[in-house]
């Protein structure tokens, strides 16, 4: 599909810290792909799109809750990746994480500026399912997926460190990051005052920082 081989293991950038373990993204050269975008190689962007668009749309859809808006954001994210590829600095983190950060930030900007979001009653069924999966008493269903693909960099310990959190604070982190919920929405969802949610999240951040180093 591309004019250069983006899937060859030997071109995995050194900044992947030599960890090209298995996982669906282990052998895709994200950094090389972004460098090719800087050179104007559109096939490199297409390769990235083929590789990641479905997962990116999944991430964005959970936050904005609207298929058409999510696709608009996916479009904007890839245009932005194309335009800003030259600002990607492999010494500051992996290319795949950079791509997801762009898409996620666009999604978060969208819900913030639209005053957000649908009420919990209006949420599509599949979102309800995964919320149930984030039930503090039953986090196993989602937590085993955390970090299940290769991100490079320093994300390896995330699953282990999340497991060490208490169930309810862990659910708060989930609802914030994965669902894009505000702290007061999380409070409504799990039936806790917003001040309590804030304090759980604060403590969780401190604990995660301590665990992940």
């Amino acid at each position: 599909m591309g004019s250069r081989d983006l899937t060859s293991p030997e071109v995995v950038a050194p900044d992947e810290r030599g960890q090209s373990e298995s996982g669906h993204s282990g052998t895709f050269d994200y950094d090389g792909c972004l460098r090719a975008c800087v050179d104007g190689d559109k096939s490199a962007l297409k390769a990235l799109y083929v590789r990641e668009s479905q997962q990116l749309l999944g991430v964005v859809s959970r936050i904005v809750r609207d298929r058409a808006r999510a696709e608009d954001i996916l479009h904007d994210a890839f245009v932005r990746i194309w335009q800003r590829a030259s600002t990607f600095d492999a010494s500051r983190g992996g290319g795949r994480g950079w791509v997801y950060t762009i898409a996620r930030n666009l999604a978060l900007d969208t819900i913030r500026s639209s005053g957000k979001q649908v009420s919990t009653e209006d949420r599509p069924e599949e979102v309800g399912d995964i919320d149930a999966a984030a039930d503090p008493g039953n986090s196993q269903r989602w937590i085993e997926k955390v970090g299940s693909s290769h991100w490079g960099g320093n994300s390896e310990r995330l699953q282990e460190c999340l497991e060490r959190l208490e169930p309810i604070p862990r659910a708060c982190i989930f609802h914030a990051y994965v669902n894009g919920y505000s702290q007061s929405e999380i409070g409504d969802l799990i039936g806790a005052p917003v001040g309590t949610v804030k304090s759980w999240i604060k403590r969780s951040l401190v604990a995660l920082r301590g665990c992940m180093g």
Binding site: V59, I63, L74, R112, I130, V146, W151, Y177
Partner: protein, 240 residues
């Protein structure tokens, strides 16, 4: 929660920023601070890298083919622009146009028309313009307004299109230079008519001065600083 509070550490602020749990105002504050506070920017990168594995939790969603077609068309359009820029009659405009760093601040589709209009507006201005600002949407999707100042004491604001202001809301225009404590209101603005604003009560305009338009409740912000979401934002550049 105010991000200036001492009880919110830089690291915690960065964590909230990446989780997405800051309010719009706090988020904006952190975004602004990151430009100058390298430790904060580093803390944000820390959390981005550490938490990204949570993206594995979302189920993949099938993407319609038309999405790539739109991306491809947008990119072709972007890439074709520098060639057309050579036709611009205004020399500083050409160099500015070709400045990729500048344009990377804007992104995405759908702003060719507005941009062409901006160029036309700018090209036909008297040569005395000293500063100009293109106010674009925060996501950089499209330029929406142009600010021009022929002196550092007076400026003109022009809309590049029509905007529907939701009922009960108003657009308020703000500015802030780098060393000011907070933004200062320049009043409410209406699309459709150029607005002249005197800066007599403010320090002279300076390079890189921030301008933004926020959506406020009818009558404008009651507290003298922005309370609603940013609709358009940009910084002053010297135009001659």
């Amino acid at each position: 929660m105010n991000t200036h509070d001492n009880d919110m550490s830089r690291d915690e602020m960065a964590g909230h920023y990446v989780l997405g749990t800051l309010t719009e105002e706090e988020h904006r504050e952190v975004s602004d601070r990151m430009r100058e506070d390298e430790q904060l920017a580093e803390a944000v990168r820390y959390w981005q890298e550490r938490l990204v594995g949570l993206c594995d939790v979302a189920e993949p969603v099938e993407v319609r083919e038309s999405v790539w077609e739109r991306i491809s068309a947008s990119i072709d359009e972007l890439d074709s622009r520098p060639e057309t820029a050579g036709d611009s009659p205004v020399s500083w405009m050409s160099s500015w146009w070709n400045n990729l760093v500048f344009w990377r601040g804007f992104s995405a589709a759908g702003f060719a028309c507005a941009l062409a209009l901006a160029i036309t507006l700018v090209a036909y201005q008297p040569a005395s313009s000293k500063y100009m600002v293109v106010l674009a949407t925060p996501e950089g999707h499209s330029p929406g307004w142009v600010v021009q100042a022929s002196t550092s004491r007076k400026l003109t604001l022009k809309a590049l299109g029509s905007f529907e202001i939701p009922e009960g809301k108003a657009l308020e225009f703000w500015t802030k230079a780098d060393d000011w404590d907070g933004p200062v209101s320049l009043g409410l603005v209406e699309p459709g008519q150029p607005i002249q604003i005197s800066l007599d009560d403010l320090p002279p305009l300076e390079e890189n001065q921030l301008f933004e338009i926020t959506l406020e409740n009818y009558g404008g912000s009651p507290i003298g600083r922005p309370t609603g979401p940013i609709q358009f934002i940009g910084r002053a550049v010297t135009s001659i």
